[in-house]
């Protein structure tokens, strides 16, 4: 009994802290709105001057998470806070990787960005639009069940392209015409995306006839075909053997370099995180709380990663040292940094740029 009561007071304290944070979030959001309006007008000026917009020109951040909290009902009663005050600004064409101890809420954060789950408190927006539910703006590659088992590889990629706003009934009634016009074009586009991941020869196969690595390639092609603002990846290569994994890592780096895409990549493999991304987030619940009741993971590190994309980089001493540093700060329950000590270099760079 006393345990439950303890939990309740704990939770109400968390509630109070969170309420205060929510208020702060509201003010911050309003402030940002004003800033954004000014930025937008600045952009218009630049455009009318005929200068191409470059990185130095501030623009609306692609993804903006402000004071995001998430909690889940605890089976023993009360709630478990999973994410504690997540603040994240992601500019366009950033490749973010998220690591953290298992169960720290990496996938929760991804689901919040995806929109398949709503935050307890705080706001998330893409291009200034609040995230409400999963839609075309954000593509997703899951570790499993990313593909439709009842469709061939080609049809899996055509699936999204064909959802062009035409009513299903209309599509069926005018199928002979539709097939030779729209459908034909979508098939050509889909084949292009399959060629990019070197799977055009397997277009007619069903997913179960492909290896795990090939399936994930199809999933990437399927998501990329929608030209999403952000490509979300939830431990996409977690179920693959090391060799396949590395080749998929190179595929995603190539995709990122060739196309104007922003990637949000959750993984439990540190080496992978440092290798594929250009900005690393470490999510961890191991830190020195400001208040004893504070719980849930925070971003304890937000740093740029080495830019080298040769696989040999993984063996270098620097790379391994970086991993050791991340492990110490994020994964070691004994090592508890103060909140003020967090290494948030990349976040500051973004803020300065914005």
């Amino acid at each position: 009994m006393s345990d439950t009561a303890g939990d309740d007071t704990k939770n109400s304290a968390v509630d109070k802290a969170a309420r205060a944070a929510r208020e702060a979030a509201r003010l911050a959001a309003e402030k940002r709105k004003i800033e954004r309006a000014t930025e937008a007008s600045a952009e218009v000026v630049t455009a009318s001057n005929g200068r191409p917009s470059t990185a130095s020109v501030p623009s609306t951040p692609l993804l903006d998470c402000s004071h995001v909290y998430q909690r889940y009902p605890n089976p023993k009663g009360g709630f478990q806070v999973v994410l504690n005050d997540i603040n994240l600004v992601v500019p366009k064409h950033d490749f973010i990787t998220v690591v953290g101890p298992s169960g720290c809420g990496k996938s929760t954060l991804l689901r919040l960005v995806l929109g398949s789950e709503a935050p307890w408190m705080g706001q998330l927006s893409v291009r200034g639009r609040p995230i409400d539910h999963p839609d075309r703006d954000r593509g997703i590659v899951f570790q499993k069940y990313s593909l439709f088992p009842h469709l061939t590889v080609l049809d899996n990629v055509v699936f999204g392209l064909e959802l062009d706003g035409t009513w299903l009934l209309q599509k069926w009634l005018t199928w002979p015409v539709y097939r030779n016009t729209h459908h034909k074009r979508y098939v050509e586009q889909a084949m292009g995306y399959l060629r990019a991941v070197k799977l055009d020869e397997h277009a007619k196969k069903y997913p179960h006839q492909l290896s795990g690595g090939m399936q994930q390639r199809v999933a990437i092609a399927q998501a990329m075909a929608m030209k999403p603002d952000i490509l979300l990846m939830d431990e996409p290569f977690g179920a693959l053997d090391p060799g396949t994994r590395e080749s998929l890592q190179i595929t995603i780096i190539e995709t990122f370099q060739q196309q104007d895409i922003t990637v949000f990549f959750v993984t439990h493999d540190m080496e992978e995180a440092l290798f594929v991304g250009n900005r690393l987030l470490v999510l961890s619940a191991y830190y020195e709380p400001e208040e004893p009741t504070q719980q849930g993971a925070k971003i304890v590190m937000d740093v740029p990663t080495p830019k080298d994309t040769r696989t040999s980089v993984k063996a270098t001493a620097e790379f391994q040292e970086f991993i050791a540093e991340v492990r110490r700060r994020g994964f070691d329950p004994a090592c508890r940094q103060k909140v003020s000590e967090f290494d948030l270099r990349a976040a500051e760079a973004v803020r300065k740029g914005a």
């Binding site: 995806l114 398949s116 539910h133 999963p134 839609d135 075309r136 954000r138 593509g139 997703i140 899951f142 499993k144 069940y145 990313s146 439709f148 088992p149 009842h150 699936f159 999204g160 959802l163 299903l168 069903y206 997913p207 179960h208 006839q209 399927q222 998501a223 929608m226 999403p228």
Partner: protein
């Protein structure tokens, strides 16, 4: 010894050997019947309970040639009548179960609304409903169809609900990120994945459907496989009853194999997955 014994589990057999193995029990049964029938005829040449081959042949002749008075072929007339009832009843039950099961599988609200009553209805032996159906609908065709439909619908609904729920949520979220609307998710993602497993459910339902059909025909009908068996029972005409029973088994077998083949042909992806 132990090594080859281990191979007994999970090793697939070549097709020919599989078919031959399946025939062994059938042949054994026929042989056993022939033996006991012969024994009984040695004791009593007039035995009617286990007719010999010649009498069975005469019975078969009787049911497959036009009747002297009506000019109808019994077996044919009865088969058509029974299959028509079975088809209509199963069709109606299936229509109810598919609609309700699909909605219950997809929408948790609909599931919460109907799940208790459907489960409760599934627990009522449909034959207990037969008097009620007879009282309301009379004893003609419609009551038999309704019995089959009511008999299979609740179980089938629950089956389809489970299948609908088992579709990974990731697939549905994925469809949304590809721009699908809710109706497109239902029609293009959920429905096609449910269909092959719906066929499995139907295969399992055919057995109970036969029970309801034969029972209702036994009580009141003027034709049908069940009707004929119960009519000739009064004359102890085992040489007619046995061919009818074998015929029913054959029809069941063909339906089952037919549906399995349809599923393999229409949904190859659903079958290959079972190998993994």
């Amino acid at each position: 010894m132990s090594k080859s014994a281990r191979k007994l589990i999970g090793t697939p057999l070549p097709r020919v050997r599989r078919v031959l193995l399946g025939l062994i029990p059938v042949l054994l049964m026929v042989a056993a019947y022939a033996y006991f029938s012969h024994q009984r005829h040695i004791e009593n040449p007039m035995d009617r309970l286990m007719p010999g081959l010649s009498k069975l042949w005469a019975g078969l002749q009787e049911i497959t040639t036009p009747d002297k008075r009506s000019g109808q072929v019994w077996l044919w007339v009865d088969t058509v009548a029974s299959l028509e009832r079975l088809g209509k009843g199963l069709g109606a039950g299936l229509a109810i179960a598919c609609t309700l099961g699909l909605l219950m599988g997809i929408f948790s609200t609909v599931r919460a609304l109907f799940s208790p009553i459907v489960t409760a209805l599934a627990k009522i032996p449909p034959l207990a409903l037969l008097p009620i159906i007879f009282i309301f609908l009379g004893v003609d065709e419609s009551s038999k169809i309704v019995l089959i439909a009511l008999g299979v619908a609740p179980t089938l609904t629950n089956d389809i609900t489970l299948v609908g729920q088992s579709i990974p949520r990731n697939t549905i979220v994925k469809a949304y990120t590809l721009g699908a609307s809710t109706s497109e998710v239902v029609i293009k993602v959920i429905l096609p994945q449910i269909l092959p497993r719906m066929i499995d459910s139907i295969r399992l339902t055919i057995g109970p459907a036969w029970i309801y059909l034969i029972a209702s025909e036994a009580i009141s009908a003027d034709s049908g496989l069940g009707y004929r068996i119960y009519v000739v029972q009064r004359q102890l005409a085992m040489n007619v009853i046995l061919p009818y029973v074998v015929w029913i088994a054959l029809i069941g077998l063909v339906l089952d194999y037919g549906l399995a083949a349809l599923s393999r042909w229409g949904f190859p992806w659903a079958h290959a997955q079972k190998d993994h």
